[in-house]
């Protein structure tokens, strides 16, 4: 069985392929073999004209218009990006300027407040100094008036004491210089 199968397989291959012996492709006695070339020329010329005059240029146009659209869109996107970039730059510049202005304002306010405070302090000091000076003057006046008021009382007391001790009233010209010296020594001491 196996041998038979192999024999069959071997025998049918060439006989199947070359059953008639000649290839129709090489049969040039058949007029159709060469005439098909003539008809092919006609068909191909028509196909060439259809493709070169209509088909291919139309497809080329479609592809070109697509490339145009893509290029245009890309250019628009690029322009938009540049616009956005400038807008961002402007925003940043505005932010920097505003920050600088605000800092200047703050510094100015601080300086103003400081100056006002200094001026207030100076005015207060002057007022206090004036009050102090007035008070001192008042004290000085009170002291002077007190000292002045003491002199007649002391003269009277010294006269009375001397009258009691000596029985005579000293002259005004003797008493007065001694009184002044004694008072001066007291107030100084």
């Amino acid at each position: 069985m196996r041998k038979l199968t192999t024999a069959v397989l071997l025998s049918i291959l060439p006989s199947a392929a070359l059953a008639e012996g000649t290839m129709p492709q090489m049969d040039f006695t058949n007029p159709l073999t060469l005439d098909q070339v003539g008809w092919m020329a006609v068909i191909m010329v028509v196909l060439y004209l259809v493709l070169s005059r209509w088909g291919l240029p139309q497809i080329g146009k479609v592809i070109e218009s697509r490339a145009d659209v893509i290029a245009k869109d890309l250019a628009a996107a690029r322009a938009a990006k540049i616009e956005a970039d400038t807008a961002v730059a402007q925003l940043n510049a505005a932010l920097v300027a505003a920050r600088a202005a605000a800092q200047g304002e703050v510094a100015r306010a601080v300086a103003e407040a400081k100056a006002k405070a200094t001026a207030d302090a100076a005015a207060l000091n002057a007022q206090l100094d004036a009050k102090l000076a007035a008070a001192e003057a008042q004290i000085e006046a009170a002291r002077a008036s007190a000292l002045a008021a003491i002199k007649p009382v002391a003269a009277e007391a010294a006269g009375a004491i001397l009258l009691k001790l000596t029985g005579s009233l000293p002259g005004e010209d003797v008493l007065a210089p001694n009184l002044d010296a004694a008072l001066l020594a007291r107030s100084g001491g």
Partner: protein, 250 residues
């Protein structure tokens, strides 16, 4: 043992097409397939150009893919001058591709399996590219056969070799396509014939055994699809190469 006789070459025989009209004007079944190929190409272009959408649909994408594929092939191989030959290369490529592809379907004629057809195409490419060479360079085109940078005493040997290799271009171009297509179709028919023979010889066992040639034919179908596209591409890129030689002479 008497099995059915399989004639694997009968599929290539030419018969008058289009009924009685074909007999009168010698319009064969292979011309029918050529006409079908041309009409399908025109139809695909018509459908692809219907929408002209910015984002292409399937048919439009197919046409644009073919267009850019062949256009890039022309520009890459020939250079910017290649755009002049782009419609010609596209016509040849699409015609051969469609011819190969519709030849794969049962009951359709594979006209690229006829040496007369492929030789005519190859001779046209050969004559056209030679004409382009003489049109571009005048009689200086003869220096194409003198390789540069070769010692003078070698030239008597090398120039005939160059001329022979140049003249053999249409032969290799046509035989490559013809042989590939013919071999594929013969193999298909032979394996299909195995199935009939096995069944006729061994009955039910043979019918089961014919799964093997059937599987082989399925694999062959994939291979033939590849060959159909590849051979059309090879023919087109060689056309571009010959045109490059004619335009640039090196």
């Amino acid at each position: 043992m008497a099995g059915p006789t399989i004639n694997a070459l009968e599929q290539f025989s030419l018969t008058p097409g289009l009924g009685g009209l074909g007999k009168a004007i010698d319009f064969s079944n292979s011309n029918e397939a050529m006409l079908a190929a041309a009409v399908i190409i025109a139809l695909i272009f018509g459908l692809g150009l219907k929408a002209r959408a910015l984002v292409p649909g399937r048919t439009q994408a197919l046409v644009e893919l073919l267009y850019e594929f062949v256009r890039n092939m022309c520009v890459d191989t020939i250079g910017e001058e290649g755009l002049r030959f782009f419609p010609l290369v596209f016509t040849i490529f699409s015609f051969i591709l469609l011819g190969n592809l519709i030849g794969l379907f049962p009951y359709f004629f594979a006209f690229t399996s006829h040496i007369a057809v492929t030789l005519a195409l190859a001779l046209f490419v050969f004559v056209f590219s030679t004409g382009v060479g003489f049109y571009t360079h005048g009689f200086k085109f003869f220096t194409f056969f003198v390789p540069s940078g070769v010692p003078g005493w070698l030239l008597p040997l090398l120039v005939p070799i160059e001329i022979i290799s140049y003249l053999s271009r249409p032969v290799s171009l046509s035989v490559r396509l013809f042989a590939n297509m013919t071999a594929g179709h013969v193999m298909w028919e032979v394996f299909a014939g195995f199935m009939l023979l096995l069944t006729a010889s061994f009955g039910i066992f043979g019918a089961f055994a014919s799964v093997v040639p059937l599987g082989l034919n399925v694999a062959l179908a994939a291979l033939e699809l590849l060959v159909a596209g590849l051979q059309a591409y090879v023919f087109a890129i060689l056309t571009c190469l010959y045109l490059h030689d004619a335009v640039h002479m090196h």
